[in-house]
């Protein structure tokens, strides 16, 4: 029986989506500095339509990660992203908490 946890569990969602034939990218928090809302190892799963489940930052940079995930799915190549107040795009997708994070985005290869 699927519990409520399953619904919130991005790795199970990723497997389900792959099973449905959807193209899927997995984003993982690799490293954090300072105050970052989600710890290393946290996952966000994205499909080619921009549907997503999970979180890598508590909402601050998810939009940017989802946009990059589309490129990763299209190219089939993984990508490392960095976000933080020192980032030149901070005004757009910075972490308001003042932390910095590195997020790895990779395709799930069937």
């Amino acid at each position: 029986m699927p519990s409520e946890t399953d619904v919130l569990e991005p790795l199970k969602v990723a497997e389900e989506w792959c099973g449905e034939g959807r193209a899927v990218a997995l984003a993982t928090v690799i490293e954090t500095w300072g105050s970052a809302p989600r710890p290393a190892g946290s996952h966000l799963v994205v499909d080619s339509e921009g549907n997503f489940q999970g979180s890598v930052s508590g909402g601050c940079v998810e939009g940017a990660v989802i946009a990059e995930a589309a490129d990763v799915i299209a190219s089939g190549k993984p990508k490392m992203l960095e976000f933080g107040v020192a980032d030149e795009t901070a005004w757009r997708v910075g972490l308001s908490c003042g932390g910095r994070i590195r997020v790895y985005v990779e395709p799930i290869d069937g």
Binding site: T28, I30, A40, Y104, E106, I108, D109
Partner: protein, 234 residues
């Protein structure tokens, strides 16, 4: 990550096996290692450390940029007593990431319609726990305040070094329980581990509020548990 690796990881997690995933960040390939199996020599130290600390992180080994992710089994919550508080706990605990089981030999209480979505075992704790022993990653909440039902699983939980052992009942009920356990030969420092009155002191009144107080106390016990020695192992 390959779909086959993702499937292997999800299967391990469903079976409550601890797993470390080692991803090569240069190309996205991933390998899944289960606790209790053998690891490649160059990775063995980092994989073992990941299992022990439960902390994911990047590491460069032999010039390769790797990421070690750790998946420890989700903590379990075993509630003794299919009571009103357990009904609320059965709603909250799965959302907070706990696998929950409820044990109560009184079949009038332990009905499936009162407890959807969690495991319900309408049998004596002695019998259930013989088949499915408690472990360090399990919290036990004794909620019947009937010594015939609660006392055995409390002793079993102390012996299994469950990260949390809580027992419902007034100070007076608990004083009587402490005396029974002492007479039964349970060590004083073990008895001191029992959280009673149960739940953080937030002035909880309704069964649902008490369930929140109990769950908060369980989370505190889990997150602040002693990681020294064997305690940190899955």
């Amino acid at each position: 990550m390959e779909l086959s690796a993702l499937q292997a990881l999800n299967a391990a997690r469903a079976a409550r096996r601890a797993a470390v995933v080692v991803s090569d960040l240069s190309d996205g390939t991933a390998r899944v290692f289960l606790e209790g199996t053998s690891f490649p020599a160059e990775l063995a130290k980092a994989i073992s450390a990941a299992f022990l600390t439960g902390r994911p992180g990047p590491l460069t080994i032999e010039g390769r940029s790797l990421f070690f992710n750790v998946h420890l089994p989700p903590p379990r919550l075993v509630a003794i007593g299919a009571v009103h508080i357990s009904q609320a706990l059965a709603r909250f605990a799965p959302v907070a990431g706990f696998d929950m089981a409820i044990i109560d030999p009184r079949t009038a209480f332990a009905t499936a319609e009162r407890f959807q979505g969690v495991e319900l075992l309408a049998d004596w704790p002695e019998d259930v726990l013989a088949a499915r022993p408690l472990d360090r990653y399990t919290a036990l909440a004794a909620l019947t305040h009937d010594p015939k039902i609660d006392d055995y699983p409390i002793r079993a939980a102390l012996q299994a070094q469950c990260f949390y052992v809580g027992a419902l009942g007034s100070r007076r009920t608990h004083a009587a329980r402490v005396e029974r356990l002492r007479q039964a030969g349970v060590a004083a420092e073990a008895i001191e581990r029992i959280r009673a009155p149960i739940g953080l002191d937030i002035g909880a009144s309704s069964p649902a509020e008490i369930a929140v107080a109990v769950l908060a106390e369980i989370i505190e016990a889990l997150r602040r548990r002693d990681l020294g020695g064997e305690g940190g192992k899955a």
